[in-house]
Symmetry: C2
C-alpha cells in the first residue's frame, strides 16, 4: 500500500495481504470516550458512502462477497462480530470487539461477517457509491479474479 | 444549501437554518438491518475524518462548541442522545434515537450532545481533519461570528 499511518494509530497486518487492523487512538475523560480516524493517517481513503448494520439475528451472516474496486473500513462500534477474510490464497479471521478497532479491507478480498453479538452495530465506510456491478458475489468468479492479480 | 437528496432519503429541515435531519433508507431482511448514506445524496460532503463517542456517563454533555469551516453528520448508531443546536439567533433540539437518523450540521452552529443512553454510541463524520484552531469554544466569540454571516 502507498500510504502509512503518520501518528499514534497502531496497526497489525493480516496474513491476508493488504488487510490491516487499526487500533485507533481513544481519548478518554470524565465525559466519556472518543475514538477517531483521519484521512491519510488511519483512514486510507475518502469515503463516499457509509452504512450501518444492526439487529443481526443469532447465527446470521453478512457480506459473503468481494468488491472489484471499493476499499472499505469496518468497525464494530457496539458489541462484536467476527470477520472472515480470504484473498483466494490465504484466509484469516479477525474479531472486532472494541469501537476503536477498524479493519481496512482492500478490493478483491472475499469477506464475511458473522457471530454478531445481540447488540452488535457494524459501521462500514466505503470508497465508492453503491454499484451492484462492483460486487463479486460468485466465489468461483472471485477466485479467478483474485488469482489474476499480483499480490 | 446547493445539494439536495436525489433518492429515497427523507429529511426535515430544522428551524436552525442549514441543519437537516435525514431519515435514511433502511434495508431490512432476515439477516438484519442496514441503513446507508451516500455522497451527493444524503451525505452532503466527503468525510475526511470520523469519530465515535461511547461510554458517556449519565448527565455528561459533549460538544459545546461550533466549527468555523467543518461540516458534520451525526448519527446515534446505538441507543440515543439529544442534540442542542443554536445558530446565534434560533435554537432547536433533536433527539437521535434510531441508527438511520443522521443530522447534518453545517459550520457556525453551536452544538451540544447530552442525555446519552447508557448504551449510546454517537458516530460523527466530519468534512475536515482535526484542527484545534477550527473550533469555536467561546460562546461570545461564536455569537459574533454567527451574526456576521448572512443566513
Amino acid at each position: 500500500m502507498e500510504w502509512a499511518p503518520r501518528n499514534e494509530g497502531l496497526y497489525i497486518d493480516s496474513k491476508v495481504t493488504g488487510v490491516r487492523l487499526f487500533d485507533l487512538p481513544v481519548i478518554r475523560d470524565s465525559r466519556g470516550s472518543l475514538s477517531f480516524a483521519e484521512y491519510d493517517q488511519t483512514l486510507p481513503f475518502l469515503p463516499r458512502r457509509y452504512f450501518v448494520v444492526f439487529d443481526v439475528g443469532e447465527g446470521q451472516t453478512r457480506g459473503n462477497h468481494a468488491h472489484r474496486t471499493a476499499h472499505q473500513l469496518l468497525a464494530c462500534v457496539k458489541g462484536s462480530c467476527l470477520v472472515d477474510l480470504d484473498n483466494g490464497q490465504t484466509r484469516d479471521e479477525i474479531r472486532l470487539d472494541r469501537p476503536e478497532l477498524a479493519l481496512y479491507v482492500p478490493p478483491k478480498i472475499w469477506a464475511t461477517q458473522k457471530e454478531f453479538s445481540r447488540d452488535g452495530v457494524l459501521l462500514v465506510l466505503a470508497s465508492e457509491g453503491y454499484d451492484p456491478d462492483e460486487y463479486i458475489k460468485d466465489y468461483d468468479e472471485f477466485l479467478r479474479i483474485a488469482n489474476e492479480c499480483d499480490r
